[in-house]
């Protein structure tokens, strides 16, 4: 049946059929180390805003989803290589990334980046600012003129402020806020930076159909207010 039909039609149909059996399970790639977006809970499972969001999206798109964790550094190469089908890992939509993969529409408003510091009077232009290697915040500080000091994990950046190696750390507001709330020595500065766009789900550029399904599901969650409820529950950014 498949090989009787010609060119364009064949393309659409084979793609559709392959989609049907191949994507019967959609593998959701996440990092599992970035609360509240995604983290590993006490039971050892993926949890967080994106876990709840992703499960709901899969339900609405009528897809069976499976969660996998992958290290942040290689999260995009592994997507394009086909080791999982989506990235749902608090990934801001940027032009650089958009050249390599496709994003669904954003499911958060742009989240500001905040400075976490030991004291309020930090010289943000001339001081020492910590950031995680390879983040948009690291590029931002490199360009700002402050002395950038990079650590390989977010924990180390916060530790660097506590032990005085750095004056402040720049990271997503949603990540720093719970830390500032619990640690009396640390505080968030009033100044914030708007660096990234909103957070979206990454899919392969060749995977238009999957993208369309998730886009539709996100739209439906936006329109009936469930997305806003989730954002409020996990205290992320503003609401749509």
């Amino acid at each position: 049946m498949k090989n009787l039909i010609l060119t364009t039609a064949a393309l659409a149909i084979t793609a559709g059929m392959a989609f049907a059996d191949g994507h019967s399970v959609v593998r959701m790639g996440t990092e599992g180390a970035y609360p509240p977006y995604n983290f590993i809970n006490d039971a050892g499972d993926v949890d967080g805003f994106e876990r709840e969001l992703g499960d709901e999206l899969c339900l609405r798109a009528e897809l069976t989803c499976e969660w996998v964790t992958n290290e942040w550094d290689s999260i995009i190469p592994n997507l394009v290589s086909g080791n999982y089908d989506t990235i749902i890992a608090g990934m801001s939509i940027t032009d650089e990334r958009d050249e390599v993969i496709d994003f669904t529409q954003g499911y958060t408003l742009p989240d500001p980046s905040s400075y976490l510091a030991a004291s309020a009077d930090v010289d943000l232009k001339g001081g020492v600012i910590a950031a995680q290697t390879g983040t948009i915040q690291a590029s931002f500080i490199a360009a700002s003129g402050a002395t950038l000091v990079e650590f390989s994990t977010p924990e180390e950046t916060v530790a660097a402020v506590k032990n005085g190696e750095a004056d402040a750390v720049l990271a997503d507001d949603a990540y720093l806020r719970p830390i500032a709330d619990e640690d009396a020595d640390l505080q968030l500065l009033a100044q914030q930076e708007m660096i990234g766009g909103g957070v979206g789900m990454g899919v392969r550029e060749s995977d238009g159909e999957l993208k369309a399904k998730f886009d539709a599901a996100i739209t439906s969650m936006k329109s009936d207010g469930t997305l806003n409820a989730l954002l409020a529950k996990w205290e992320i950014g503003g609401s749509f």
Binding site: D73, P77, A142, E150, G164
Partner: protein
Amino acid sequence: MSACTQTITDYGLRAVGIGERLLPRDDFTLCQQFTLIGSGMIWNVYFGIVALIFGFMFATLLAVGKASRQRVFRKPAEWFIFLFRGSPLFIQFFFGYFLFLKLKTVFPIFAPFTAAWLGALVVLFLNTSAYSAEIFYGALKSIPKGDVEAADAYGLSGWSRFKRVIWPTMLRLAWPAYTNEAIFLFHATTLVFFSGFPAWQQRGDALYYASYFADKTFNPFIPYPILAGYFIILTLCVIGLFGFINRRLNSHLPSNTRQRLRIRPNLIR
């Protein structure tokens, strides 16, 4: 071509903080990748060479200590070697950094130790000392009895016997394994910024820049092979240099014995 020359002047010494402050952010060219990763190699070579030189001296001391009959010398040497050979390097980096931070708050003199150029160097130095010491110790144990007896017969003793007979023989026996240790040490320098010390002002080693490009271009298949290429060249240089020294060390032996010793591996890291 001229664009590439410009890139080299901009970024050739970027790893040590000379040149353009901002790293390239878009339109990445092969030239930029080669230049910056090559610039990062400065650090790998620096860490490798300095740790190797100081490690060599300390390792000799440790090996003699471990071979000593006196407990006061033997036990500390044994424990030191066990501790540093028995644990992964990244844990050593972690505790090293942690320790230097604590020391810094008490004694300000330790301030430079929290920077990679000194702190990571100290950790690498201790690590390679332990591995080399074990190699040297193995060599000390296998020095032919006849050599030492001959030295005694010539009336050599103590320091001069060590300097003129035992030490050169030990080096000769240990050299093939020590060559491997040197190679491993250069490879280990890639861990400094990867899971050890922070990178200041985007001054990092070759792996730091390679992963920077992999991260920006989302294509691991270009920067990492470039890095691998640089390291193969570096390794060949190390093998060449050590091979040269090896020939010097063995130059007094008849050629057939030399051949046998050269390829016999006793210990590698």
